[in-house]
């Protein structure tokens, strides 16, 4: 009986006995049939509305269309790269501001962080795009940077505050200045601990680059829209969605999995002994509640 891994009880379910196991098998069978029926119905619907005709799928064989899609993907990744780097920088700056000894600096950075976290990203992007009349790419990058930078500032700050108190005290006792304590002792440990959260927040930034579509930035979704609204190819909207979404979702999933992997790795790392490694979740805390 010890050869296979025994199921452990949870708060809700006990380890099933023979009768319950039989019942669970029945439930499993019924739910599998239901889920398969649902999938089958969707596939039937796709065939029924003629989404798999060759007229709708041939455009993807043309070089021009492929290049259009690739250029869109490139623009998406470009916006993501800019936004990621800049929001890490802004996050670091705002975190330093929030941890400052000077009251005015602290207040100003707190105000900025709280404001940009409370605003919808899209409102900021539209404000920069429409009111300040900025080009789409800088508008998108600025909007994403302001939002993700403020969230990352909170992540960094939480990380630095969660390093065991003894580390800070020992560093001060050695005669280090505040800057030295932060840069040599606290920040390296905080970044290690917060790396999964930071990467998860970058997933949010990657997802939000698709907002560029709404301000006519020529990114991936925009390229898809161009193909989808082409009458020559019989308006291949569903095929376009079926091509674009796996790529988009795949990219985000890869980054999410990377965050989970980092979290697992850092938890085993002896260098994170004095701080607790955060789970791989984006850091959107409720303002006001900790």
């Amino acid at each position: 009986m010890t050869t296979h891994t025994a199921p452990s009880p949870t708060a809700l379910y006990d380890i099933p006995g023979p009768v319950t196991r039989k019942r669970h098998r029945l439930y499993g069978f019924v739910s599998t049939v239901l889920i398969l029926a649902l999938v089958g119905w969707v596939i039937h619907l796709l065939f029924d509305t003629e989404q798999f005709t060759s007229a709708k799928w041939t455009p993807f064989e043309y070089k021009g269309i492929q290049e259009l899609l690739l250029r869109g993907l490139g623009n998406t990744l470009k916006a993501f790269a800019y936004a990621a780097v800049l929001s890490l920088v802004l996050g670091a700056v705002l975190a330093v501001g929030r941890l400052s000894d000077h009251r005015v600096v602290r207040w100003v950075s707190t105000l900025l962080v709280e404001f940009f976290r409370a605003m919808p990203v899209l409102v900021m992007i539209f404000f920069i795009f429409v009111a300040l009349k900025v080009q789409p790419l800088p508008a998108l990058v600025t909007g994403l940077t302001l939002y993700n930078g403020s969230v990352l500032a909170e992540v960094f700050r939480t990380g630095i505050n969660s390093v065991e108190r003894g580390q800070r005290e020992a560093a001060y006792a050695l005669g280090m200045r505040k800057t030295q304590v932060t840069t040599f002792v606290l920040a390296p440990q905080a970044v290690r601990a917060m790396l999964p959260t930071i990467i998860s927040q970058l997933v949010v930034a990657l997802k939000d680059t698709s907002l560029g579509y709404l301000i006519t930035y020529e990114e991936f979704l925009h390229a898809g829209k161009l193909i989808a609204s082409n009458l020559d190819y019989d308006l291949p909207f569903i095929p376009v969605v079926m091509v674009i979404s796996p790529i988009y979702i795949g990219m985000c999933m890869l980054l999410s999995w990377f965050a989970t992997w980092v979290a697992k790795r850092e938890r085993r790392n002896p260098k994170t002994k004095a701080v607790e490694v955060a789970p791989a979740e984006p850091g959107t805390l409720l303002p006001g509640v900790q």
């Binding site: 452990s8 009880p9 949870t10 708060a11 809700l12 379910y13 006990d14 099933p16 669970h24 439930y27 499993g28 739910s31 599998t32 889920i35 619907l45 509305t49 989404q51 409370a118 605003m119 919808p120 990203v121 899209l122 409102v123 539209f126 404000f127 429409v130 009111a131 997933v203 990657l206 997802k207 939000d208 680059t209 698709s210 907002l211 579509y213 709404l214 979704l221 898809g224 829209k225 989808a228 909207f237 569903i238 969605v241 674009i244 979404s245 988009y248 979702i249 985000c252 999933m253 999410s256 959107t284 805390l285 409720l286 303002p287 006001g288 509640v289």
Partner: protein, 214 residues
């Protein structure tokens, strides 16, 4: 200031649109999230897989892509509904994945011993769930549900850009009427702040009333 007083009805309509969208999508997200969470903790393998796939896919989908697919894609299947319903559907399904994870981790915070004790007292599954597990899980999920619903309210701005009546969408009309664009956005921002801060305040009250420190 003029922008607000002269177009109060337009702003009011947009504001109510956002509130409506937020409330309906929250209800959908909470119900669907609860269902998916119960799938994910079920002892039946296929339901667990279904819940996991739902959460993993939706959490990694850009919301704009989802709106794009739902608002412009579903009509291709002959499903013609008002844009608002589509927007609620997209927002609700997207947020349900996050709610599901919050609820699941809430249920996981309840120690196994609690359930075992309840069962050894002879409680049925329903009694264990309603009297032991859910009351304890509920207390620990209040703050994360609050953040998720605030994120939902902020995400509803995307619906505005897809021409659903909504607070952000008001800028277009006002821009055409020639009002100062900066002040237009200031009042839109104030509108969103009112909504997010009231959700925050509501959940602070709930947290004070029912929350426990673990």
């Amino acid at each position: 200031m003029d922008v607000l007083t002269q177009n109060f009805s337009l702003y009011g309509k947009g504001f109510l649109g956002t509130v409506e969208l937020t409330v309906y999508s929250s209800i959908l997200a909470l119900l669907l999230g609860f269902f998916m969470a119960s799938c994910r903790v079920a002892p039946v393998g296929s339901l667990r897989v279904f819940g996991t796939v739902w959460v993993t896919v939706l959490r990694n989908t850009p919301l704009t892509l989802l709106f794009f697919a739902v608002l412009l894609g579903l009509p291709r299947f002959g499903l013609v509904l008002p844009f608002k319903v589509f927007a609620v559907l997209a927002l609700g399904c997207y947020t349900s994945a996050f709610i599901c994870e919050v609820l699941r981790s809430g249920i996981n915070t309840v120690p196994t011993g609690q359930g075992e004790a309840a069962r050894s007292l002879g409680m049925t599954f329903g009694q264990t769930l309603n009297n032991i597990v859910l009351p304890q899980a509920f207390r620990s999920v209040i703050p994360p549900i609050g953040s998720t619903l605030i994120a939902l309210a902020k995400n509803s701005a995307i619906a505005g850009a897809f021409s659903v009546t909504e607070l952000l969408g008001t800028y277009k009309t006002l821009n055409e009427l020639g009002y100062s664009i900066i002040w237009t956005f200031v009042w839109i921002a104030v509108g969103y702040l009112i909504i997010t801060l009231s959700i925050s305040a509501l959940f602070n009250v709930l947290e004070k009333r029912w929350g426990v420190a673990r």
